[in-house]
């Protein structure tokens, strides 16, 4: 119960801080929209496979940039303050949940714009949206932990990408496959394997993060 209230407070703090500056949200949104537009100007029209893969690659880079901020922006003093009032588990849970919301919102807006400029038909829109949900979940669980590691190592941008890309590739491959199934409008039973493995990997990543974060956060 204590964990629950702590997570609630920390999450509220994250959202309020974001609402006041709107820096991360607007920045990443602009990042996504301009990458979509650059791709549109470069490609003009795309084949369905390229359409799908391109979308996920844009989202991958946007997500790395969005989540990388979550620990790097915290000042040393503020981290010390968290240390006195909250448990490490509640901090990582709150950050992860906040990142899920942020990425969900950005991915949805990106999908709408992407769909608007690049004409393409979605065979099973509901499954595609579910894939986007799973994608935001996977990106935020993996990247939150790696951003914590990268921020402790002092070196931000490059290290974050180097550490997180190999870890996210298996998830990304599953997401691309799943969203391709959704795009082609295949029967949903075809995709059960991918959904199962994605959820399983997320459970593993979250539980490992919960176990390891307490060791990571105190210097």
């Amino acid at each position: 119960m204590k964990l629950y209230t702590q997570v609630q407070h920390l999450l509220k703090k994250e959202i309020v801080l974001e609402w006041r500056s709107k820096y991360a949200f607007n920045g990443i949104l602009l990042y996504v929209v301009s990458s979509v537009f650059v791709c549109y100007l470069a490609f003009k029209t795309t084949q369905p496979i390229v359409w799908n893969v391109l979308f996920w690659i844009i989202m991958l880079f946007a997500a790395v940039n969005a989540v990388a901020k979550s620990f790097i922006q915290e000042s040393k003093g503020r981290l010390l303050y968290y240390y006195t009032i909250a448990s490490p588990q509640s901090i990582i849970i709150a950050k992860t949940i906040y990142n899920i919301f942020l990425l969900l919102l950005i991915t949805f807006i990106a999908l709408i714009i992407y769909k608007l400029v690049f004409a393409n038909t979605l065979g099973d829109p509901l499954l595609y949206i579910f894939t986007i949900f799973l994608g935001s979940l996977s990106f935020s669980t993996v990247f939150t932990m790696t951003s914590a590691i990268a921020s402790k190592a002092g070196n931000s941008g490059t290290l974050m990408a180097v550490l997180s890309f190999p870890v996210i590739i298996p998830l990304l491959m599953l997401l691309i496959k799943l969203s391709k199934n959704a795009m082609d409008g295949l029967d949903r039973s075809v995709s059960y394997d991918e959904i199962g493995v994605l959820i399983l990997i997320n459970i593993i990543v979250v539980s490992v993060s919960l176990l390891l974060f307490p060791y990571l956060w105190r210097d």
Partner: protein
């Protein structure tokens, strides 16, 4: 840790590897289409992967031990196990590529397991980059131990779960039977399993030697 100074398992490993070198090339193997005599590579290609996995497993075990005790020796064991593991990764990849060249036609045929192995290699390169990016010894040990433990389950999924979901040329994936079920008879097994044990022991021996050299170097530097 005193076991690393014992002799018996090093002798056992050497004997087993020499046994597989002789038996692997001279014993009878089933004649199969496409594979032909190249089936003997299973005595070398698969055991070095096993050795690599054993080393990475050891390094995760010692990373966990490091986080619990903050003893620098354990960090040294973890990093040397990974360094040796990367060496065996290269052995596994090269033997696999040679084999693929003769049986599948191309050294790199885009097989899911090959691709997964390449990604797993990136994980451990990232581990080494992470280590070199932190100056302070204790901080470096702690952060890299955390990344090592974090990445290990993902690597297991990458190598053993994902290839099974797609079509693969490797046995045991994409509906093909795993080794040991149909494609290996009892004559092959009496070479194969000793080979696995032998290569694991030899790889651990190399790792312990590296570990001992490094700890001696540290001792001299501390003086």
């Amino acid at each position: 840790m005193t076991i690393i100074y014992k002799k018996w398992w090093k002798i056992l490993g050497t004997v087993l590897v020499f046994y597989t070198l002789i038996a692997g090339f001279l014993f009878k193997v089933p004649a199969k289409v496409i594979l032909n005599e190249s089936i003997r590579n299973v005595y070398f290609h698969v055991p070095v992967w096993f050795a690599m996995l054993a080393l990475f497993g050891i390094s995760v075990y010692y990373s966990i031990k490091y986080l619990r005790t903050n003893n620098e020796t354990y960090d040294l064991v973890a990093v040397e196990a990974i360094n040796t593991g990367i060496l065996f990764y290269i052995f596994g990849l090269v033997t696999g590529m040679l084999w693929a060249k003769f049986t599948w036609g191309e050294a790199w045929s885009g097989d899911p397991k090959q691709n997964s192995a390449a990604i797993a290699f990136l994980i451990y390169c990232a581990y080494l980059v992470l280590r070199s990016s932190v100056e302070e010894d204790q901080k470096r040990a702690k952060i890299s131990a955390i990344y090592n433990i974090f990445a290990f389950p993902i690597m297991i999924v990458l190598l053993f779960v994902l290839p099974r979901l797609t079509d693969s040329l490797h046995p045991g994936n994409g509906g093909n039977p795993a080794f040991g079920k149909y494609d290996m008879n009892s004559e092959m097994r009496i070479v194969f399993w000793p080979a696995c044990l032998g290569w694991i022991l030899i790889s651990v021996w190399i790792a312990t030697l590296r570990f001992r050299i490094r700890s001696l170097e540290n001792k001299i530097l501390d003086k």
